[in-house]
């Protein structure tokens, strides 16, 4: 395929992909979905496990749609992909900036998810296969997602500033939470880090400015937001009027095991980079 017709046919696919690898304002939908609270017990789609599944499936779908769109656009679709990359970069920075003021756990994850997956477009414009980076970025949020759900079950809400000092009262949970936040904000050797590296190494040869500015700025803002999240939940003086119940051994093994699996997935990404 290719030519003007090909590009016109590709455009809807890219736009649909923009729902899965969210581009603002298409990103509003996925953020609404993540923040949606269950109205009743039967509201299965609002359950954290279902949402986690959606978070993992959407990047696969997005990658597939991009694949179809790229095939349709053919070799002449470079400018179109560049435009989407620019759009993706801006979306990523916008959500990374908003992340700084997010206090609610679900909003936080939703915005980081949007900011991270929007970056995949930067790689797509420079012929980086989108599947592995998209999966790496999305999967890195899962440990944090489930731990925040644990906070919601304990305290009724996952939010910073309401029950500080978990490190003193729930040390096992706090340790896992710190690791999960670091993994989510793509600190080195997390799958998200390798995903970002994959996007950076793939794009840097083609266009340094378009690649490095959104990637590095977004990464910086994520880290800053991660520190804010930790400061409001893990550190500080615990409240005397709340009951803090730490994770039991089984939960620790389960969460820890999940993180080990993620680390193994990171190795797959390393192979992708190499």
């Amino acid at each position: 395929m290719g030519g003007l017709l090909g590009m016109m046919l590709a455009l809807p696919f890219f736009v649909l992909a923009g729902l899965c690898l969210p581009l603002f304002p298409l990103s509003i939908g996925i953020n609404r979905f993540i923040q949606h609270l269950p109205k009743h017990a039967a509201d299965r789609l609002a359950q954290p496990q279902a949402k986690a599944l959606v978070l993992l499936v959407l990047p696969l779908l997005g990658a597939m749609l991009i694949g179809v769109g790229s095939w349709l656009a053919g070799d002449g679709g470079g400018w179109l992909l560049n435009a989407f990359a620019f759009w993706g970069g801006l979306t990523s920075l916008l959500y990374a900036f908003r992340l700084l003021s997010a206090r609610d756990g679900q909003i936080w994850v939703g915005q980081l998810y949007t900011s991270a997956l929007a970056l995949v477009w930067v790689g797509v414009a420079h012929d980086v296969p989108p599947l592995l980076p998209a999966l790496g970025l999305a999967a890195s949020l899962l440990p944090l997602w489930f731990l925040l759900d644990g906070l919601t079950q304990r305290f009724g809400i996952a939010r910073t500033g309401l029950y500080p000092g978990l490190a003193l009262r729930m040390p096992r949970f706090a340790a896992l939470f710190i690791v999960a936040v670091l993994v989510a904000v793509a600190v080195p050797f997390s799958p998200a880090f390798f995903a970002v590296a994959d996007l950076a190494f793939g794009g840097i040869g083609a266009n340094e400015l378009l690649t490095l500015v959104p990637l590095s700025l977004a990464w910086l803002l994520w880290t800053w937001a991660g520190i804010n999240l930790l400061a409001g939940i893990v550190f500080g003086e615990p409240r005397a009027d709340l009951d803090y119940v730490d994770l039991d051994r089984r939960d620790v093994l389960m969460h820890g095991g999940g993180m080990v699996l993620l680390a193994l997935f990171g190795l797959v990404l390393v192979e992708g980079i190499l």
């Binding site: 305290f155 809400i157 500033g161 309401l162 029950y163 003086e237 409240r239």
Partner: protein, 908 residues
């Protein structure tokens, strides 16, 4: 931290809460945090004592004016929306500014004092520092850059007004006094919910609902939610209380069933009683600790006396001081510091030593000018102001040139401190710092020994502590002036010393001092015309300060140097009588000051001698020993009834409390005969030091210590290890202060927890010596005790938290992280072992061995000690040797029954 939200806002505003605290709680602004941040930055700039390279300009005008000058032009403040300049333009004086801000915020004048108190308590560390600076008129930086609490308050209030105005504009609300009170009165339910939400006390699962409801602004929904919330909060609080009481009951052996068997009123009473008791719980435990300690201490003293009476092992253990060893009896004067107790105990056990406890400045208050330093350091307790100066003077030619290592060190540090150079320096010499780090971390002992070899050592020096006669002072000033003239001649005319004669120099000096007029011989000899000569003389007067005014100032300074022989005898006599050492002198009397060695430790001075103003005690020990060794002084002492034999020599020493090494000083001053004893004394001191180190290693939780040798090596490593956050425990665990004969405690193991001041009531019938102890050493010991007390009961508020996060600020204090309140008190590593307190919070248990009547009379006479005792800041126990009774003072029993007697036997 602002207080909780339990009380109504109207009651708390101005008493517990500032206006911006209220705004933060009601509208979720973060004015308090921003205000503290902006203020701290300004304070760090102003109070800097040489850490920063670019210093704040205009600091000599004082804190408020210097800050205002900068703030007027601060674009960052403007960009944040703070119109500080407009506020500052309305008043120049800090007092007027405070008045203006308070009026503009609408705070009623009768609430101002309360409001100021709340403001000052927000950053109590900084406010305390400013207050101290304002009172320390002699402090160099205060003289140079003055600041007081009025300045501080004015800066704080200006920022508060600017931030409140900006927040009000953004929120479209009036945030002044009346408006906030009005809001609280008209929206009571909304007010409670807002405060719960923003102050972090909300029930977490209600947070979202409250937020959404408040956003809706619907009064009916807000009122309905309030009722729900209040009911739920009350229920949960009741559940929490019931659960806690259940846990307590289970711990006391009552199961749940027996609790539930009681009627509702009884359960309410139990719960209310338990929570009411909680307010007094801390004091209850403190009193229990004190009581247990007093009982144990008195029991030990009584047991020792009994053992002595029965002639049993205790006396054998005591090591009878009357049996002289091969070097004869050696007496040793130690500081009263708790860390001396262990060393004294081991030294007495090792050899024929009789030890005494005395305040570590040995009764010689001096302002010391160290060689190479241009300022005076007060080496005496903070309650004393030294009137005499001692000067250190090298007795070998001081090298002016520094070693290559020192030069490189200086260059690297200068580069590090500049603004741009570090970016280059890191690349260029960063690796050197890497080597330094590896050496310090992995082989601290070997690496530090190697480094010390590279550094230039201070030349050996003697102390000038004799009063200069008028002729000597004049001669000294004249020599100084001649030196200046010489330098000036060389610089202006390139004329060397060998071309000049002494009369020429004298003539130039006298001309500069305006004691003569006319052409000088120098001008004639070197063809200097009259105009050039006049310029040179003016330069001598102005630039080189060879003038009559400067000479007068120099003479005034010199008049403060040293002590006259009579005063020296007076000081030595008072010190010796104070500890009861007026006869029976040994051939060697050690005068042991103390200090500490540690690396990378901003709290090092907290480990040094408190009686020497937080410095090492060696200088005082050297001066004391030198005075006591003087024939003229001994003659005068003899007239006072204290005869020191000619063969007695006082030897100064320094006890390093981190390594437990004792270094003897000024041995070159000893006659050869006395030197023969020194080796044996050194061996004994080393042995006692190692035993002390072994005992301390157990306290430090050190493992794998095979014996005293290994312990000595381990503590030495601690002193040199830059990663060591606890080089020693310092004065932690201090509990008691024993004022009495050594016989009272000689056989006791007090575990380094007692200040020991030697005192013999038998030589002090009028109580004058005891009065000195009660008004000096006791006060300092009580300060130390309470500093530890408060640092351990709330280490975050009154202590300084963990050392790990500390950063030095402005070379005068520490902050946590990069910006925080100035930390006061002691760090967690000094107070806690893990998360448990190491120091036990007890008030100082002061034990005085003296007739009860004498102590009562002194307390009636002395205001400060009486206040300490009667207001419960210290616990007093009087051991009356005449009635064989211990009188324990407890104000809890009421004025009439405060003294609780109990029988006790005292060692002879």
């Amino acid at each position: 931290m602002p207080p909780g939200t339990a009380k109504p806002l109207a009651d708390q505003l101005g008493r517990d809460l500032t206006l911006y605290d209220a705004a933060d709680q009601l509208f979720g602004t973060r004015i308090g945090e921003t205000l503290n941040e902006l203020l701290i930055k300004g304070l760090m700039d102003f109070f800097d004592e040489g850490q920063s390279v670019w210093r704040m300009p205009g600091r000599r005008q004082g804190l408020f004016r210097a800050w205002a000058n900068i703030a007027r032009r601060n674009r960052r403040l403007k960009m944040r929306g703070l119109d500080v300049a407009a506020i500052l333009d309305e008043a120049d004086e800090p007092e007027a500014m405070i008045d203006l801000v308070m009026t503009r915020l609408g705070i009623p004048e009768q609430r101002w004092m309360d409001y100021f108190t709340v403001e000052l308590s927000r950053l109590h560390g900084w406010a305390g520092f400013v207050r101290w600076r304002a009172q320390a008129g002699h402090y160099y930086w205060q003289q140079r850059n003055p600041a007081d609490l009025v300045d501080y308050l004015a800066v704080r209030l200006v920022l508060a007004l600017a931030l409140l105005t900006d927040a009000g504009r953004r929120l479209k609300r009036d945030l002044r006094w009346e408006a906030l009170l009005d809001f609280a009165a008209t929206h009571p339910h909304e007010c409670v919910l807002r405060r719960e939400l923003n102050a972090g006390t909300v029930l977490p699962d209600f947070a979202h609902r409250i937020e959404v409801t408040l956003d809706s602004g619907d009064p009916a929904r807000i009122d309905a939610l309030y009722l729900d919330y209040e009911r739920e909060k009350t229920t949960r609080e009741a559940c929490t209380r019931a659960r806690r009481v259940q846990v307590m009951a289970a711990a006391a052996g009552f199961d749940r069933a027996s609790l539930l068997a009681r009627d509702e009123d009884a359960l309410h009473q139990i719960i209310d009683g338990t929570y009411a008791a909680k307010a007094h719980e801390g004091m209850l435990w403190t009193r229990a600790l004190e009581r247990a300690h007093i009982r144990a201490l008195l029991g030990q003293i009584d047991a020792a006396a009994e053992a002595q009476c029965s002639g049993a092992p205790a006396s054998a253990q005591s090591g009878d001081a009357t049996h002289d060893g091969p070097i004869g009896k050696v007496q040793a004067l130690f500081c009263i510091d708790v860390r001396s107790e262990r060393l004294r105990r081991h030294l007495e056990a090792v050899g024929d030593y009789e030890t005494f406890g005395i305040a570590g400045f040995f009764g010689v208050p001096i302002a010391f000018v160290e060689f190479g330093k241009g300022h005076e350091t007060a080496l005496c307790p903070a309650v004393v102001t030294p009137k005499n100066v001692a000067v250190e003077m090298p007795h070998t030619q001081a090298k002016h040139a520094h070693s290559l290592f020192d030069l490189a060190h200086e260059v690297v540090h200068d580069l590090k401190n500049t603004v741009l150079a570090p970016y280059v320096t890191v690349e260029a010499v960063g690796l050197l710092f890497g080597f330094d780090m590896v050496g310090k971390t992995f082989a601290p002992r070997a690496y530090n020994t190697w480094r010390q070899r590279l550094e230039t050592r201070k030349p050996p020096a003697r102390l000038l502590f004799d009063k200069l006669s008028e002729d000597e002072a004049l001669e000294l000033v004249a020599n100084l002036q001649d030196e200046m003239v010489l330098r000036a001649v060389e610089r202006h005319f390139a004329v060397k010393r060998e071309q000049l004669t002494s009369p020429m120099l004298r003539e130039l000096r006298e001309t500069a001092l305006e004691n003569r007029r006319g052409q000088t011989e120098f001008a004639r000899r070197f063809g200097v015309d009259a105009a050039a000569e006049a310029v040179f003389i003016r330069s001598l007067q102005a630039e080189y300060r060879v003038n009559s005014d400067q000479a007068r100032i120099q003479l005034e300074h010199l008049a403060k140097v040293g002590f006259r022989p009579k005063r020296q005898a007076q000081l030595i006599g008072a010190a010796l009588r104070g500890i009861g050492l007026t006869a029976g002198f040994g051939r060697a009397v050690l005068v042991v000051g103390h200090g500490s060695t540690s690396e990378n430790n901003p709290y090092e001075s907290a480990l040094d001698c408190g009686a020497c103003g937080g410095d090492q005690g060696l200088v005082n020990a050297r001066i004391f020993a030198a005075m006591a060794n003087r024939r003229e002084v001994r003659q005068l002492l003899k007239e006072q009834g204290i005869t020191i034999p000619a063969e007695t020599h006082f030897i100064p020493a320094l006890h390093d409390t981190t390594t437990d090494e004792i270094h003897l000083a000024d041995l070159d001053e000893l006659p050869p005969a006395a030197l023969t004893r020194v080796d044996r004394i050194r061996e004994d001191l080393t042995a006692a030091g190692r035993l002390t180190a072994a005992e301390r290693c157990r306290e430090l939780g050190e493992t794998d210590i095979s014996g005293p040798d290994a312990a000595a090596r381990r503590v030495k490593r601690h002193a040199l290890d830059w990663t060591q956050v606890r080089p020693e425990w310092g004065l932690s665990k201090n509990a008691s202060f024993v004022i009495g004969r050594r016989a009272l405690t000689r056989t006791l193991n007090l575990n380094g927890r007692a200040f020991l001041h030697s005192y013999d009531y038998r030589v002090d019938p009028k109580g004058r010596l005891l009065e000195t102890i009660l008004t000096g050493p006791l006060i300092v010991a009580q300060w130390i005790n309470l500093e530890h007390f408060f640092s351990v009961v709330d280490n975050e508020a009154f202590g300084s938290g963990s050392k790990v996060y500390h950063n030095i600020v402005g070379r005068f204090g520490v902050v946590t992280g990069n910006l925080s309140d100035l930390r006061t008190g002691l760090p967690a590593q000094t107070m806690l072992r893990g998360d448990r307190p190491y120091h036990q919070p007890m008030r100082l248990i002061t034990v005085i061995e003296a007739p009860f009547g004498l102590v009562e009379d002194l307390l009636a006479k002395l205001y400060k000690p009486r206040e300490l005792v009667q207001n419960g800041w210290i616990r007093l126990v009087v051991l009356d040797p005449e009635t064989a009774q211990a009188q324990v003072y407890d104000p809890k029993h009421g004025e009439g029954d405060a003294w609780q007697p109990q029988p006790i036997r005292l060692p002879a």
